[in-house]
């Protein structure tokens, strides 16, 4: 049931929804190419679900338009849109069997009975529920219901598939299995997918591109690598992935630009400043990912061996959390910032760090990400 390539180009133009009891949306625009898997990522209440409802046709935007394959569908009622949707609570019809649930969109399209039976069989086989056609939804587990909802949304070969936090109700293990399964199915079928989640790991794992929402705006659209390594602003940098953040001002110290943050001077790489185009004297934020940071006890001799320039800050270990594969250290730094550092549990001297110990954290200045401090802040 592969779709023709080129069907499912979706363009959202300046969607706004400021009144009413839904989450607001301000001038949201997004271009989705056929076959893309786009995740709408953001904290709850940031407008992701509102976007999805507008695309599905459940909500009429106050301004802006939805264009599907060149046609403006903003005013088309949902039942004539041909867009599949998977709801967070699955929204399976409890009084119908699994097979009748999946057959529903085909029956609405008045397909011949034999076609319906064949397509329903194929769709259930696709989600590995071929033997469950006669069951009622409530007799299935959460993961199975999820797959029925997926089969039902795919069976009529919609040009776009919408998913609203489809894995939100599942436990962690099942969620990870389902992530892979959904990616595989969507890749096989070749649909354009808009996928809403507030789970940044899910977004990074599943998407071809991510749109990061904040307060009704789309802050950045980009590949997972873009979002993680080249965030557009401080909000994106801190919402996606863990990070240590320094707020301050860019200053020229000697021949190099530094971030002056509460009396701590941190060298910045020319490339990282060049990317955001901030001038000397401008307020800025420096974001460092935990995997870029190394940690060592204070006064343990050997300093920079000169290969690459490092930035270093002193601090005191506040907390040590053992997580199996890594040990997570929370370090209170000079200047008031808090660092998050992951080390291997048997990572030599650093691995045996204890709360209260004085340490120095260091990172390659090329790994420091400079962003403008705008775009809100969040943990």
């Amino acid at each position: 049931m592969t779709k023709n390539a080129g069907v499912g180009n979706l363009r959202l133009q300046g969607l706004s929804q400021l009144y009413g009891d839904t989450q607001g949306l301000r001038e949201a625009s997004l271009d989705v190419k056929a076959g893309e898997f786009i995740t709408l990522l953001g904290p709850s209440g940031s407008g992701k679900t509102t976007t999805l409802k507008i695309v599905a046709g459940f909500l009429r935007p106050e301004t802006g338009s939805v264009i599907l394959d060149g046609k403006d569908i903003t005013a088309v009622p949902p039942h004539r849109r041909d867009i599949g949707m998977v709801f967070q609570n699955y929204a399976l019809f409890p009084h119908l069997t699994v097979a009748r649930n999946v057959a529903f969109p085909l029956e609405m399209r008045r397909l011949p009975k034999s076609d319906i039976a064949r397509k329903v069989g194929a769709a259930l086989a696709l989600v590995q529920l071929g033997a469950y056609g006669d069951r009622r939804p409530r007799e299935l587990s959460g993961g199975q219901q999820q797959r029925v909802a997926l089969a039902r949304a795919l069976v009529f070969q919609p040009s776009v598939l919408l998913m609203d936090e489809p894995l939100g109700a599942l436990d962690r293990k099942l969620r990870e299995t389902m992530q892979i399964e959904i990616i595989n199915i969507c890749r096989d079928v070749g649909h354009t997918v808009l996928y809403v989640t507030h789970d940044q790991e899910e977004a990074l794992a599943m998407s071809t591109r991510i749109a990061v929402y904040h307060d009704g705006r789309i802050e950045q659209v980009g590949t997972p690598e873009d979002i993680y390594q080249r965030p557009a602003n401080l909000f994106v940098a801190t919402f996606v992935g863990e990070s240590t953040t320094f707020l301050g001002r860019i200053e020229q110290v000697g021949g190099q630009q530094h971030l002056l943050s509460n009396g701590v001077s941190l060298p910045l790489s020319a490339a990282s400043i060049g990317r955001v185009g901030l001038a000397t004297g401008a307020p800025a934020a420096l974001v460092v990912r935990p995997e870029a940071i190394s940690i060592r006890p204070v006064g343990s001799g050997a300093s920079n061996n000169g290969a690459r320039p490092l930035a270093a800050v002193r601090g005191r270990i506040q907390n040590c959390v053992y997580l199996g594969s890594v040990r997570k250290n929370v370090i209170a730094l000079e200047g008031g910032a808090t660092a998050l550092v992951r080390v291997a549990p048997d990572g030599g001297s650093a691995g045996t760090a204890e709360p209260g110990q004085e340490v120095e954290i260091r990172w390659d200045i090329e790994a420091g990400i400079v962003v403008s401090p705008g775009g809100g802040s969040s943990a």
Binding site: G57, F58, P78, H79, F93, M108
Partner: protein
């Protein structure tokens, strides 16, 4: 009390019952003694008189009472008439009650209040008063006939009471809330995401109603029908006042007991009516989960 309040309270009561049954600790055991006064009331005022009735129906003068019911054609015939009229009343309640409940389900909160008031108001006024009020409308010189004659639709008054019409109109009015409440309870349980899902899957509004909404409200419909039917079979005051000589089964019992003083035969008729109701409940409970009668949600 609003519909929601009523339903919620019943639901909560059911939950409490369940949790108290499951607690096997000392506190729970001691708390169970509290049921005794209530149980005693039920035994003394409900179960014991029923026992007396069964006893009298078999001994006053003899079990022949039951043979007599079958022998004299009038009794089975009145029973059948009663069941037939009860069916009509149930159907009327359904035809009026379902659209009413649906309206209540769709309007805004303030209108919901108003509509709930209108349907519950009869609950709070005396059955006798309501029934006599109908005579003002229905009798030959009543409001309806006067108006119809006045605007020239009819020349002579049509008989609206003192026959089956009067009984059915009056009983439908009295029993309507018992249809509306279970239906609105089951509609309330409807998850509105299901209609969004259906419309996203290509269903037009009319298809959403018939394919999704209506089938899912059927438990409430069945519960309402069962409730109305069972209550209607034993009705006395309304058919007695509005039905005239159209015999309702309960009227036969009253005649035996209070006019002919045939307590034994009257008891036998009562037991037969009770048996019919129990059979209906037994059949009905195969279709209805009794939870739906009190609006307890259990999907």
């Amino acid at each position: 009390m609003t519909v929601r309040g009523l339903v919620a309270e019943n639901g909560a009561a059911a939950m409490r019952r369940r949790s108290s049954n499951s607690s096997g600790d000392m506190v729970g055991w001691r708390r169970d003694w509290l049921v005794i006064p209530g149980l005693a009331v039920i035994l003394i005022f409900f179960i014991a008189p029923l026992g007396v009735m069964v006893w009298r129906s078999l001994t006053d003068p003899s079990p022949y009472n039951y043979v007599r019911f079958a022998d004299e054609a009038v009794y089975p015939r009145v029973l059948l008439t009663t069941l037939w009229m009860t069916s009509l009343v149930t159907l009327n309640c359904l035809l009026l009650g379902y659209p009413y409940a649906y309206l209540m389900h769709r309007v805004t909160r303030n209108w919901q209040w108003l509509l709930a008031m209108v349907v519950l108001l009869p609950f709070w006024s005396s059955l006798l008063v309501r029934t006599y009020a109908w005579t003002i409308l229905l009798r030959d010189g009543g409001l309806i006939n006067t108006v119809l004659i006045g605007i020239g639709v009819i020349d002579d008054p049509i008989r609206l009471m003192g026959n089956a019409t009067g009984t059915i109109v009056g009983m439908t009015h009295v029993l309507l809330p018992f249809m509306v409440l279970p239906i609105i309870a089951s509609m309330r349980r409807f998850d509105s995401d299901l209609s969004l899902a259906a419309s996203g899957l290509g269903a037009r509004p009319i298809a959403i109603f018939w394919r999704i909404f209506f089938p899912m409200s059927l438990p409430g419909v069945m519960a309402g029908c069962l409730l109305v039917f069972v209550l209607a079979v034993g009705f006395y005051i309304t058919p007695a006042i509005l039905g005239g000589r159209t015999a309702f089964f309960s009227m036969l019992i009253v005649v035996q007991v209070s006019r002919l003083l045939e307590f034994g035969f009257g008891s036998a008729l009562g037991i037969i009516l009770l048996a019919v109701i129990l059979v209906i409940i037994a059949l009905g409970s195969k279709l209805v989960r009794l939870d739906d009668l009190v609006g307890h949600s259990g999907r």
